[in-house]
């Protein structure tokens, strides 16, 4: 069916439904919603990729900002850990957003397809760890990147120290850049960088990743706003949908088999990534 023949109000309603579904699935699968939102909406809706990426950033911002207070109060997100990483990530994200808005759409669409497909494969292959017994490095000690985390489900208290801080800062600069180019939250990369590279306990890594997205995405979001790449008819249903969906997802978390959802998300990302790739190549 020709997209132009569809009444305008169908699109924001459909977007609300898609954002709601992504909000649920993202919580259950433990991925940031932007990594699903940008390729799915970019591939299935008639909006220009500039507006989809702008909405993707605000979509990820809305979800992580809403989760931030609860994560901080529960000790699941570390503001001390986030501050230096977010600073480097924000600079990367700012640069990435400017680069993304300057690139030709076809090239960007192709690169998005490659990136999303690669991320899906990385999520499929990634393994988390809670073995946190390494010594802190000098930079991590200077920045006081350490903390104590009590895990009520395991009944243990973990003392953690950041390690490989310089590499971590470099990683967050690069992650911020990729997120800025494609309008992604980049939680898929934050969690392994915090957990596997810097040695933060998994739950602290997941919580701090959300806090990091809420800070890092802000700088890219400003660039998109300044370039007029935020279309309210896309952004607002996305914000409302993901906020409501995330709440439902959090309630379903205990009763849903996370492995099955995770596999579904990987398949959805692979399909969306391939569609973006084909669209970019003009096939």
């Amino acid at each position: 069916m020709d997209a132009a023949a569809i009444p305008w109000w169908i699109w924001p309603l459909a977007l609300l439904a898609v954002s709601f579904a992504i909000g649920i699935v993202a919580v259950l699968a433990g991925v940031g919603g932007g990594v699903l939102f940008v390729p799915l909406v970019g591939g299935l809706f008639p909006f220009h990729l500039d507006f989809v990426r702008g909405a993707g950033l605000v979509f990820a911002l809305a979800g992580t900002l809403a989760a931030g207070p609860a994560l901080l109060r529960a000790g699941l997100a570390s503001l001390r850990l986030a501050m230096p990483l977010a600073l480097v990530g924000s600079v990367g994200s700012f640069a990435g957003a400017m680069a993304g808005l300057a690139l030709p759409t076809r090239l960007l669409q192709t690169a998005l397809g490659v990136t999303i497909t690669t991320i899906a494969l990385l999520i499929w292959r990634s393994r988390a760890t809670d073995a946190v017994n390494a010594e802190p490095d000098a930079l991590g000690a200077l920045l006081r990147l350490h903390g104590e985390f009590h895990d009520p489900s395991a009944g243990v208290t973990v003392d953690w120290h950041a390690q490989r801080t310089l590499l971590g800062l470099g990683a967050f600069g690069a992650i911020g850049f990729v997120g800025g180019v494609f309008g992604l939250g980049a939680g898929f990369a934050n969690v392994p960088a915090l957990n596997l590279l810097m040695g933060a306990p998994l739950k602290v890594a997941v919580g701090s990743s959300a806090l990091l997205i809420s800070i890092v995405n802000s700088s890219a979001a400003w660039v998109y706003i300044q370039h007029g790449a935020l279309l309210p008819l896309i952004v607002v249903p996305a914000i409302l949908g993901v906020t409501l969906g995330s709440r439902i997802g959090a309630r379903l978390l205990r009763a849903t088999p996370a492995t099955v959802v995770r596999r579904l998300v990987i398949v959805a990302m692979l399909l969306a990534g391939l569609r973006a790739l084909l669209k970019g190549l003009g096939w």
Binding site: A3, A4, I6, W8, W9, W11, P12, P46, F47, H48, D50, F51, G54, V58, L61, A62, L65, A66, G68, P69, L72, R73, L79, R80, M83, P84, A86, L87, S90, V91, F94, M98, L101, L142, L143, R144, S214, I215, S218, S219, A220, A221, W222, V223, Y224, I225, Q226, H227, G228, A229, L230, L231, P232, L233, V235, V236, P237, I239, L240, T243
Partner: protein, 128 residues
């Protein structure tokens, strides 16, 4: 530090959500003049951001602030609130860190404010 950041984050996010909802209803229902009517968007949303601005005469940079009386730009203001939340929280944190003489944290917070304010200003992005 953490509790203050969490409290401000909470308040600002809830305000952003409520304003988004109210502004969107006002825009699509026609309760406010639209500037870009929703029904005209299917002819425009396939254009790049630059061509969209040319086609609608939409101001770049902060020029839209003068147009928040229109539904389209009131919705945009609500979305912009989400981008502004972190800057507001850091600005709230900064004087407290200076008072406590937590110099390293204060320096990090100040640098973050500078990055976000630069991005928000549009100076480096070339928008005006």
């Amino acid at each position: 530090m953490v509790e203050i950041y969490a409290r401000w984050l909470d308040g600002a996010t809830k305000a952003g959500f409520m304003l988004s909802l109210a502004a969107f209803v006002a825009y699509v229902s026609g309760a406010l003049p639209a500037y870009v009517p929703p029904a005209a968007l299917p002819q425009l949303w396939g254009l790049s951001a630059a061509r969209f601005a040319e086609a609608t005469g939409a101001p770049q940079g902060w020029g839209w602030l003068a147009l928040v009386g229109y539904g389209y730009y009131l919705c945009l203001a609500a979305a912009v609130l989400f981008a502004a939340v972190t800057l507001v929280c850091y600005l709230r944190l900064l004087p407290m860190l200076i008072r406590e003489r937590a110099w390293l944290d204060a320096l990090l917070a100040l640098a973050q404010v500078v990055v976000l304010a630069t991005a928000a200003s549009g100076v480096v992005a070339g928008a005006g």
